[in-house]
């Protein structure tokens, strides 16, 4: 009973603990960390029912303020790098990520709701292309550091669609075909099936050999039988008289 009660308590605790995990991957994305550290954003998260905020800040220089999470605010904690980012992603109720494709797909494949914040500092901002494309397909929400607060306020996580897993087999097939691995060469087939081919050949040769011998035997017999039949059909032996006419 005691154990059951304890378990119940733990479940309740984990139900109450709704963590927001912020990740910037291996990059430097101070804009995102700074945006998360804003008071309005944290208040908005608390209003939406989140209790904890864990920030993975990567190579960033801006350190957010830690907080224990007293009444009316979220508990904030941060770290730079960790090998257990996958565990943090798994335990999170909401993930806010930079626009790196690695972090985005890792989150989507775990089926976690995701807000991507596009970093506008990068030289060519191709990363937003993917985030916007996936947002268009309703797999995630895409925000800018300035619009993050409104995004958190307005988001409807129920409307997000799960992301189907990708498939690398078409690429593998094309590579194999190009390198000549897919279609087995004639010689390879021959090498693999040579016992079968050899025995079939021997068998055929035997059939022909024996068949040929019995053919000869039946030929002699067949010729006689045919003659008898022709005689019967003709009613008389015409072919013995006809050559005489021509002479």
């Amino acid at each position: 009973m005691d154990i059951n009660l304890k378990k119940m308590g733990e479940i309740e605790d984990s139900e109450n603990r709704r963590m927001v995990f912020v990740t910037v991957g291996t990059t430097l994305c101070d804009a995102l960390v700074r945006a998360m550290d804003k008071k309005e954003v944290k208040q908005e998260l608390y209003r939406r029912g989140y209790s904890h905020l864990l920030i993975q800040m990567g190579r960033g220089f801006y350190t957010p303020t830690k907080s224990e999470g007293e009444d009316g605010s979220v508990a904030v904690d941060y770290f730079t790098f960790s090998s257990s980012i996958a565990d943090h992603l798994r335990s999170a109720s909401l993930v806010i990520s930079h626009a790196g494709s690695g972090s985005m797909f890792e989150t989507l494949q775990l089926g976690k709701p995701l807000i991507v914040v596009v970093n506008e500092d990068l030289m060519d901002n191709h990363q937003s292309e993917l985030a916007e494309k996936l947002a268009e397909r309703k797999h995630l929400y895409c925000a800018r550091p300035q619009t993050l607060r409104h995004m958190i306020a307005d988001m409807d996580l129920e409307s997000l669609l799960p992301y189907p897993a990708g498939d690398a087999t078409p690429v593998a097939k094309l590579i194999n075909r190009f390198l000549g691995f897919l279609a087995p060469r004639f010689l390879t087939i021959l090498a693999y099936f040579w016992p079968l081919f050899a025995s079939t050949t021997v068998f055929l040769v035997l059939i022909i050999a024996f068949g040929g011998v019995s053919q000869l035997a039946s030929d002699a017999h067949g010729a006689q039988a045919g003659e008898g039949l022709l005689d019967y059909v003709a009613g008389q032996a015409e072919h013995t008289t006809e050559p005489e006419k021509y002479e």
Partner: protein, 228 residues
């Protein structure tokens, strides 16, 4: 008399140089023509494979491709990643360890190497010329050591020097290699700089893209759907 000999000598040297240039051009044209033509091996043997890993998402995509390939056909495998990037080689090691476990006691021939980057994320195009030169020298050393028959890459700048050297090896006749380039899923509307170079210079034998609108824009590319 002397001047006549000299002019004769000069003319013959010019003719030789022109001849050599002509042969080189013909060879380059032949290599470009043969590139992107499928191989017809007499007996398919395992091919030494160079795998260029990038950071984060690039590596995840490459590992997806690798796990779909038959490992016994692509041996030995050489993994190359940027010197500033430890995570990617780590992930490749995890993959190889997994393979070694499933193969039992079989010896898996995989090597892991680091290379200087030609361009860091966010570096300007002008300064990237200098760093690219250093990266090329280092890449040449690596390629002479490896001489791969297959090169798999998917977007990091580190693959450019390697692929250009592979092309030169083809022209000179050191090693014929097939270059497969998979454009990153992050590229939806435009190719990356590396992708654009490999596409325009016809260095990549097969050029794969993961979004249909890119295939429409670059007709020689092949659309393969999302890898992730």
């Amino acid at each position: 008399m002397g001047s006549k000999d000299e002019t004769c000598f000069a003319i013959s040297i010019i003719i030789i140089i022109i001849g050599l240039i002509f042969i080189a051009i013909v060879r380059v044209i032949y290599v470009v023509y043969r590139t992107s033509k499928p191989l017809r091996p007499k007996s398919p043997k395992p091919l030494s494979t160079l795998i260029v890993l990038g950071s984060g998402g690039h590596t995840a995509e490459m590992i997806n491709v690798l796990s779909a390939l038959q490992k016994d056909r692509f041996m030995p495998r050489f993994y190359v990643a940027a010197a500033t990037d430890n995570m990617s080689l780590q992930k490749a090691r995890v993959l190889e360890d997994l393979l070694a476990d499933t193969n039992g006691g079989k010896v898996v021939s995989a090597k892991f190497m680091q290379i200087y980057r030609s361009r860091e994320v966010g570096q300007s195009y002008i300064t990237s010329i200098g760093t690219t030169l250093i990266a090329i020298a280092h890449a040449l050393w690596l390629m002479i050591k490896i001489r791969p028959k297959v090169i798999l890459c998917n977007g990091p700048g580190t693959c450019i020097p390697l692929c250009v050297i592979a092309f030169l090896f083809k022209v000179v006749g050191i090693r014929w290699s097939s270059v497969f380039y998979v454009e990153s899923i992050a590229r939806v509307k435009r190719l990356s700089l590396s992708g654009l170079l490999l596409y325009k210079l016809c260095i990549a034998d097969q050029f794969y893209v993961q979004w249909p609108q890119l295939q429409r824009k670059y007709p020689r590319a092949i659309y393969v759907g999302c890898l992730m």
